[in-house]
Symmetry: C2
Subunit: 312 residues, 2 copies
Amino acid sequence: MLPKKVTIHEAGPREGFQFEPIVLPTRTKVEFIEALARTGLTDIEVASFVRPDLVPQMADAEELVAQLTPYPGVTYTASYLNVKGLERASKTGKLRLKHGLTISASETFSRRNQHADHAEAYLGLEKRADLFCSWGISGVSLGIAAAFGCNFEGDIPLANVLDWIRRLEHLALSKGLAPEEIRLLDTMGWANPRGITEAVEAIYTLWPGIPVSLHLHDTRGLGMANAYAALVLGVSDFDTAVAGLGGCPFGGHTGAAGNLATEDFVLMCHEMGIETGVDLDALIECANSAEILVGHALPGKVKVGGNLSRYR
Amino acid sequence: MLPKKVTIHEAGPREGFQFEPIVLPTRTKVEFIEALARTGLTDIEVASFVRPDLVPQMADAEELVAQLTPYPGVTYTASYLNVKGLERASKTGKLRLKHGLTISASETFSRRNQHADHAEAYLGLEKRADLFCSWGISGVSLGIAAAFGCNFEGDIPLANVLDWIRRLEHLALSKGLAPEEIRLLDTMGWANPRGITEAVEAIYTLWPGIPVSLHLHDTRGLGMANAYAALVLGVSDFDTAVAGLGGCPFGGHTGAAGNLATEDFVLMCHEMGIETGVDLDALIECANSAEILVGHALPGKVKVGGNLSRYR
């Protein structure tokens, strides 16, 4: 059941440089992103359009996007938490915006990350959906953050996640938007392979034909096992971050928080005969650069253990 | 197909303290091992009976075993590479010796690790089998080191591994020893979940009823995914090392070499409803101690990310 090919959304420049305390110069980030674009990665999340007073690392989002050189076959994306951020991102004119309706299954995390309880967050999604409609968008992804558990609320039952997907689906359909993808985010690293399997199978049963994508963190060492559990079910769409950068600044983490490391995931895919389109050696160089930029060791393993092709 | 319960062989004190350049005082190692014994781990590999001139970290093997306090329900084991080491380990009278016939699928690694080519290594196993017979042992495990690949020889085809298992089986049976377990060691971190699946399924088909055990390294970040792939097939016997200590000193590693981290594996098992008998919080304390002992960060994740029970 393994897919022949996976699509990787590289989240390192956005999620990583947002989590790290250091504020990197815009030019440095641009060069790093363009190096990633030369590895064969086709989808790179470059910035977050959020409040500069709360996330100063992302205060240069507009300037950064303005400086980016377009690469053939490479799409730059960005994240945003509300309509204002979405409008800022849209105005750059250089980003492929993800048309997503995403809510946190944990209300406490929603308050901390978006300053919105569930009712306010839902209202925000209605406004966002209206904006998508005014742009002539026809399809959206439905996303659930903290889909497996939360450092503030503990375990998140699968039934709650499925309920939220139903509500987002209802919202989308009521605005004439077709659900095109269901996205589960393990924002704080609570998932395990059994939980991944149960969630993906339930979604396949309830929403047949709609692909699932996963945003995984390796906070407790289970990121790669979670990815494998999903691959076995045919999931072929993953967010990862080079060198294992990343973590949500408002997730209440004690330290380890990074996303699944892109280069380790690419190695696993290649070793199992799954195409990624990525030049692993070039990506390992980017992972090494990332460590230099943030000034400390990052969790990715292949950059230390070595690409297997070196030994073949 | 997940097992209800797994057996964990804690390899940290042997494999970890052998790989680290620092030579720890015997008393320090004894205290660390006894702390592990109090976590609920039932099988702890405490030392390696190898040449003290080549592995000075293990020169105190006899003294260390002499100082160990027995704990109810806990078995101390040791490793050895030849008949001389086996006899030294046996003389301590305090170890449960693994009755194993293990060969490296890579001849280059065999030369580097055991100073024996395949013919010499096989002869050594014949002598070892004779010794087992003289002790009245009736069953043995058959082990293949470098079973998935080798930093010196590259990929190891599954057919070669199966051939070696057949030859070891023949050797065992010719001495009247029953094969009781087949052990695959991913000594240099070459395995991927697909390869694990293919190997375990082939062994189940060719040797039905004989359990498989795995010794996994996380050199390239795939250790946990490999463990999960095996759990799904019902494999319930794993070597791991607290904090992700470990690595073979003669494996030609570039840096990352540790075993699968015991505490991360225990977390995954518990989260999926698989019993380990281990107190995870006590084990995380041991992982933190291990870092202090070796004087640098070790790769285990849960010790940084935090046990999930803290947040429930």
